[in-house]
Amino acid sequence: MFGNAWIAASWMRVGLSLLVLTNPCGLKNFSNRQEGCNIKEDAAADYKLVGLHGTFQPFGRNSNLQVRFFLPLSGEDGQRIVAVQAVEVQGLSNYFMQSKDSIRWHEGDWNTFAPWPTKDVIDPLNLFSQNIAVLAFYKTGTGQPVYLPVDISTQEIKSGPRKYTFSVFHGQSLQKLDLILTDKAGVAPKIHKPELTCRPEIHPGCHYSDAGNTVTFDLDLSALPDGQYRLKLIGYKVDGSKPTTEVLFYHHQ
């Protein structure tokens, strides 16, 4: 009555049902975070900073990650919301992680976000460490986030050189991206900035980076004093328009 094909098909259905049950997609609740597959709603169309790293130690499967960042004193900022977020740089799985608001952070001090075991979501999605971007930030009453460079590791980290790696998603194809860094007083400190452009001299319609991609660049602030800095990003499109944005971040040695 029931042939081998029917039995095989039934087993396949059972297997697929189990696969669906173990699929880590959708956001899951953990004690200190939500993690799964989603995209945060405040993603911007033109630009979105997705990663700001000081140190990033590559990690393998079954690791327990720690995210360390310095949270400055609130001063006149008032009530703050502090969060740690992670996404994929090249996203095929729509990976997303966000810390819970219930975590108590320490102002004027280094903070560590942990535990963050990769076995929960990162390993089942087969994500590679090079493709994970992490952010920490606080938001004040004005709603503008101030980003806090993070050190990511599986063990305790000592402070190293403050050369920061920025990962910026952009929604439009760019020929060139200019970086303008200023301190809180509006003064532009002298630091080396990478030249982020394609080669219009050999291909006038060239793209430095294509729509929907994420560009990665370094800025070394090791020689600069602690404080809040403003990074202005000016993109240049082939049609001459210039999508622009600004990112605030706090640098601490």
């Binding site: 995209i39 740089v89 095929l92 439009q172 394609c198 291909h203």
Partner: protein
């Protein structure tokens, strides 16, 4: 009385179940889409192609076979190319100008997404391949054409184990310099196609569900990636050996769940991605939003209906046989009825 009721109830129950059971069916799916994401176990993907520019984001290594005397610039310093080992750091990217790309080798089961940008986003014809899995390919420089010559530049790399912000060079004006590329585990390759591009591929086995949707970064909602098909193409599903055809609205979401032997039979890039898929599918769901997806698979009743001539032939043949048996006196008459 019970027997009469059963005579109605049993066929009704059978028909009810037959109308609701959707067996796996061989399907033909023709679509125009802006994005085609799938998991494949194929060893190669994409046809060779002449490109104006290729951008690779996510580089593992680059090996070069350059013409004698070629000069490479590393962070402003010029080097004789000799033997250069180039490895990518996280976030490494390379741009290649006027090169011919080979097919790309896949090193294991790979998640692929074929994409074209929204028409209003970019001038020129761009096509994107994203991969979760390592790709290996070759770029060969093309001969100089007027002011346009081949070249490349890479960022965030290590050249002979030394970190370099920018590596760049012009390739031989006569062409034929060769670059061997291996991508990182997650990579994106953007191709600026030449005006008469034939880029595409065929017979790619698909191993998992294909979801014709993308998540809108503004809302987190799923949005369709189907497009209005160009003239001569249709967004349509047909089922082999059945008369059922399903026309698809390009505003709907579409999910295809393969059963076995399911293939991306062919795709080309022309006013979007034009693709044809074929094979045994377990389910095809269509809907205006992710919460309102409905199966469009033919039911068991549809299958039986298609085979109605076969099923009608059964009682006819049985009647003939019974008649023959009766004539031969091999059927006992019911004495009580007589």
């Amino acid at each position: 009385m019970v027997a009469v009721l059963l005579c109605f109830l049993m066929p009704a129950a059978g028909l009810f179940l037959a109308a609701r059971f959707h067996p796996a069916t061989v399907s033909n799916i023709s679509l125009s889409a802006a994005k085609v994401p799938f998991l494949t176990g194929e060893r190669r993907i994409l046809s060779p192609e002449d490109n104006q520019q290729v951008n690779v984001t996510g580089l593992d290594s680059l090996q070069m076979e350059l013409s004698p005397g070629a000069v490479v610039t590393v962070d402003g310093l010029t080097l004789k190319s000799g033997r250069l080992e180039v490895h990518g750091e996280p976030g490494a990217s390379c741009s290649f100008y006027r090169v011919r790309s080979s097919a790309f080798e896949l090193t294991g089961p790979t998640k692929i997404s074929l994409e074209v940008p929204a028409a209003e986003d970019v001038a020129g014809a761009w096509f994107t391949l994203k991969a979760h899995g390592v790709l290996q390919g070759t770029f060969t420089s093309r001969a100089r054409n007027g002011g346009f010559r081949s070249g490349f530049m890479c960022r965030r790399v290590q050249v002979n184990s030394m970190a370099a912000e920018l590596l760049e060079t012009n390739l031989a004006a006569a062409g034929s310099d060769v670059l061997f590329l291996t991508t990182a585990g997650d990579a994106r390759i953007d191709f600026e196609l030449s005006p008469h591009s034939q880029i595409g591929d065929s017979q790619i086995a698909i191993m998992d569900e294909v979801r014709f949707a993308e998540i809108d970064p503004q809302t987190g909602e799923e949005k369709t990636v189907l497009r209005k098909p160009p003239s001569g193409y249709k967004n349509e599903i047909s089922f082999d050996h059945l008369e059922k055809k399903v026309s698809l609205d390009d505003a709907d979401l579409l999910v295809v769940e393969p059963a076995s032997e399911f293939y991306l039979r062919q795709f080309t890039v022309k006013d979007g991605i034009q693709l044809s898929m074929h094979g045994l599918v377990r389910d095809v769901r269509v809907g205006p939003g992710s919460g309102a997806m409905e199966s469009r698979m033919p039911s068991l009743f549809d299958h039986l209906d298609t085979e109605k001539r076969f099923w009608l032939a059964v009682p006819a043949i049985a009647g003939v046989l019974l008649g023959i048996l009766e004539k031969m006196g091999l059927l006992k008459k019911n004495e009580s009825a007589a």
